[in-house]
Every structure is written in structure tokens, then in C-alpha cells.
Amino acid sequence: MSTAGKISARYKLQREGFSLDVDIEIPMRGITGIFGESGTGKTLLLRCIAGLEHAAAGQLVVAGEVWQDGKAGRPIHERNIGYVFQEPRLFAHLDVRGNLEYGRHRARGRNVDVDDVVALLGLEGLLGRRPDTLSGGEAQRVAIARALLRAPRFVLMDEPLASLDRARRDEILPFLDRLHANLSLPIIYVSHSIDEVTRLCDHLLVMDGGRIVANDSLQHILLRTDLPVLGGEEAGAVILARVIDHDKDYGLTRVAFDGGEMWISGQHDADTELRLRIRANDVSLSRERPDETTILNILPGTIESIEADSDASELVHLELGNERILARVTRRSRTELGLQRGDRVMVQIKSVAVKNAPSAGR
């Protein structure tokens, strides 16, 4: 099997009351999320890959190059990675420019253009500032730029938004979207926020108790309601859609996807690719198309399967063309309507969340 476009990592680590045991392959493209609750070993896995855990024995092969075999491996500074920690960890004795130059000077031969990265992360006005004068969001953007200027093969991001409040988070997310859209650099992104993961990631690994419990494309993983972290209130699917046009009068945008057309709120440029998240709680089903309803998006679909959820509710997996979404219905409604696998139904979607930034190319 070819290892050219992959990072394969195998680590086994015993800690007091905790063990890490992973054997994974991650594509060297796009953003791969490592998703799971706190304390499931996500950070530890990233630290192993970066070489920051001295005691960790394992195998790490990056695009066919062996970076670690057993205890013997490249030291941290010879693993060509960019690491963005939870906190910015800027160097207090250097200004922003000095922080950015630190990694670039040490990136032997390979050079990333400073101006490009500065523009990408909107740091033009900050270069002369000292780290302690920056806001949390600014500091984290500098930390991301610093990691990129090291000219890494791939970037590890350990919950880079977790230490920020909501407003700061919303300030940084568009920059991460830009990174995703403009750079071909693979990123491994650790998070416990389903929101961030659905917005940013293409591929997802789900971790639980030091183990990887699922490893698949984002869209496939989100349908895995058997995974504890993905069931419950947050259960839902992501579909990909393309903007057709905009209705100025009502402030709505029409989008097309594999299963039909939908209206979403807000303005989006024609032909933009959008990631739409549809939560199971926002989807209801009926046999016939309802005549008078406030719900705009009503599409024909097919029931693929039905699974028990709580005592009172069930999760219905639906096919809309080639896309799949979830609906949460009460067991009582499902019984009264006599819904079964294979039935054609009308799918009513009450709300759709757009996951990428409104204007990704700003």
C-alpha cells in the first residue's frame, strides 16, 4: 500500500489511569479533525506526533519518510511540523515580527513569503507590537502565522480557539477558512467543538478513552449516531451545496445540492460552495406535502433506516438524492404514520446553518 500521501501514526502509551492506543492513517491534504471530549487523549496524540512526549514509543511515517520508529526518532526540531498550541505561547522578548521570523530563519532553504502569511492572517498593523499588548485573538493569529512561516509539511492545531471567548473565536474562524481555501497545507485540527469541526474539517477522527473510534470523511462520520459524541442534541448532517442566486426582496439565497434546491437565509455569492449543517432536531417528516406551512424547504426523500434514540424519540436516516441527512421524530409519530425503511416521505427542514464564512475570499 502506498504511503505517499499519508501520515501514519501508531502510538501506545501507558499513563496513570489512562492509556493511549492509536494506529491511524491521516490523509496529507485538507483539514483532518481529531474530535472527542476533554481528556480522551487528543492533545497527547498531537504531542506524540510532534515529538514533545519523550517517553512515547511508536511509529510515525510521513509521506513515506520514517520520522519515528520505537523510541528512536527525529528530535522535535527536525520534525518539520507547525504546532499551534491552545495558548499562543508567543515569545515575550520579541515583537510580532521577531516571533514570525523565529521559525522562518530556522526553515532551512524552504521559504514561505512573510508578506503572504501576514496578509492571510491580517497582521499588517501588528508587526511592531509586543506580545503583551495583543488581544487574545490577535496573539493566536500571530501564533498561527508563526507556525506557517516555519514552512512545515503539515500543521498540528491543538484547540487553537478553546482559550478564547465566543467573539474572539468568531474573529479567528474566517482566517482559518482562508487558510483552508488558499493553502494546500494539510492541517490536523484537535477540537471538542462540533461547530468548529463541521465548519473546518474535511476528514474526521473521533477519539474516546485514548482510542480512535471512527476515521472517515466528515459527512460520513456525522451520520454515525452510534458514536456517543455525535448523538444527542447535536446529531445532524452536513451537505455540500452551490449558490444559485439571491432574492434581495426577502434576503434569501437559493442553493442547489444533490437532492434538490433549498432556500437559506443571508446573502452569498453565486457559485460559492457552501457547507450546510442540518441538525436532526430541525427536520420533520410527513407523508404528503403540507399545503400551508411556514417551512420553506420541503423536499422528497427516502427513509434509509430508523434507529432508536431515546425512550420517546427515534433517529431517521434519510436519502435526499445522493446526500444523507438525519431527522429526529417521536416514536409515537413514527408509529402513527407507519413510517418504514424504504418509504418515500416529504422532508421538512426548518433551519439550515451555513458553516463556512459568508465571504470566504474577502
Binding site: 526540531h77 522578548h93 523565529y102 530556522r106
Partner: protein, 222 residues
């Protein structure tokens, strides 16, 4: 006047040489103490702190034995240089290094302790080797610790008396440092000269301590 100036200059020279040696040797020792989990660490720490609690005469006595012509270091010194180590300037430097060691190592160690590992890890992931990260991150971020260590080691060596008396005696131009000279003048009831030398030392010591505190405060405020 030259009888005042001579001992003062000798004291300054001794303090400068000692401080230089202590910063060079004390930095790796303090770094090791700050980063190591070794079982030896408490023992080494206790040994480093010993000069703070021991009477200078006790230190001086053992140094006299070790540095003397029949002691381990003294004999080797005689073989190599042909001269005795005790009652010489070189002997004073070695004795002072032991005597002032904690005053250099402890400020450095606490500076390194408060540094933590976060910035260093970040530097390593940015391509810096351990040594590179030490000099480009740990040292600049520990400047107040280096200032404190330098000033304390210097000032403490300047004020040393008991150890010098034990291993150095009172040889003008060689081992007659200012504290010994002051003692001499008091013994011979020459209070005027003793006073003159003492006040110079008081003002000097106050000035360097003051400049250290001002400097460190500025650095923290920045």
C-alpha cells in the same frame, strides 16, 4: 590614599573574576537543577545552599585543607604551577567561587523555574535545537535572574571576610582585600582609615543593589 585604593581594587578584581566564573559554571548547574527529576537533585541543591548557613570559618577551614599544599587541589596546583594555592589570589578566587555559589545559582534557578516549558516547546517546534532554544528563548526571558545572580555574587564576594582570612591571609596586593584591610585598621585603632574604607564599601554596595532593583523593575514593567 593608595592604602585604601589597593585593597578596594583587589576586592573588585576578585569579585569580578569570581562572578564571571560563577555565571559561566552556575548557569548550566542552575538549568540542570531547574529541569531535572534526578534523585541526586535534593542532595546537590543542599550542597549548593550550604555556604549560606555554614560559618565562613568552617568553609575556610576545609578550603584551607583542600587547597593547601597537602590537599587534593593544592597539591595538583603546586605540581602544575610550582606555586602554592593558599595565600594567593588564585586560591582566593577558588574559595570565593564556593562561598558565593548559592548567590549565583539560586536566582538563576528560580528564573529558570518560572520560565516553564511552554515557550521552549514552542521554540523547539519552530525548528530550534535544545541549545538554540536555550540561548534564544530561555536566556533572554531570564535576564532579571541573570542580573540578580551577577549582582548578588559580586556583592557577596566583595563583602567576604572569614573565608579570605582562613585561606588568603593578609598579603598586600595579593590577598589583602578591603574587608581584611578594614579589620586591620580597626585592630591598630586607626579608626579614620577604617571609616574611610567602610563608607566607600557601604556606598558602593548600596549603589549596585539599587541599580539592580531599578533595572529589574524597569524590565518587568516593559
Amino acid at each position: 590614599m593608595s592604602s585604601t585604593l589597593g585593597p578596594l581594587l583587589l576586592s573588585l578584581q576578585l569579585a569580578a573574576v569570581t562572578t564571571l566564573i560563577l555565571i559561566v559554571l552556575g548557569t548550566p548547574l542552575a538549568w540542570w537543577l531547574s529541569r531535572s527529576d534526578s534523585r541526586l537533585k535534593p542532595a546537590i541543591q543542599a550542597a549548593v545552599a550550604l555556604p549560606i548557613v555554614l560559618p565562613p570559618t568552617v568553609m575556610g577551614f576545609y578550603l584551607l585543607i583542600v587547597l593547601g599544599p597537602y590537599g587534593a587541589i593544592g597539591r595538583w596546583w603546586v605540581e602544575v604551577t610550582g606555586e602554592a594555592l593558599t595565600f594567593s589570589f588564585a586560591g582566593l578566587v577558588i574559595a570565593s567561587c564556593f562561598y558565593s555559589l548559592p548567590f549565583a545559582v539560586q536566582p538563576l534557578q528560580s528564573a529558570f523555574d518560572s520560565l516553564g516549558k511552554k515557550e521552549l516547546e514552542a521554540a523547539r517546534t519552530l525548528g530550534a535545537s535544545k541549545l538554540d532554544a536555550f540561548f534564544t528563548i530561555a536566556v533572554p526571558l531570564s535576564v532579571p535572574g541573570f542580573v540578580t545572580a551577577t549582582v548578588l555574587a559580586f556583592a557577596h564576594t566583595l563583602g567576604e571576610f572569614g573565608v579570605v582570612l582562613m585561606v588568603g591571609g593578609n598579603i598586600p596586593g595579593e590577598t589583602r582585600v578591603i574587608s581584611i584591610a578594614i579589620y586591620d585598621h580597626v585592630e591598630s585603632l586607626d579608626y579614620a582609615t577604617a571609616h574611610q574604607m567602610s563608607i566607600v564599601l557601604v556606598v558602593f554596595a548600596f549603589a549596585i543593589l539599587l541599580s539592580m532593583f531599578v533595572f529589574n523593575r524597569r524590565l518587568l514593567r516593559r
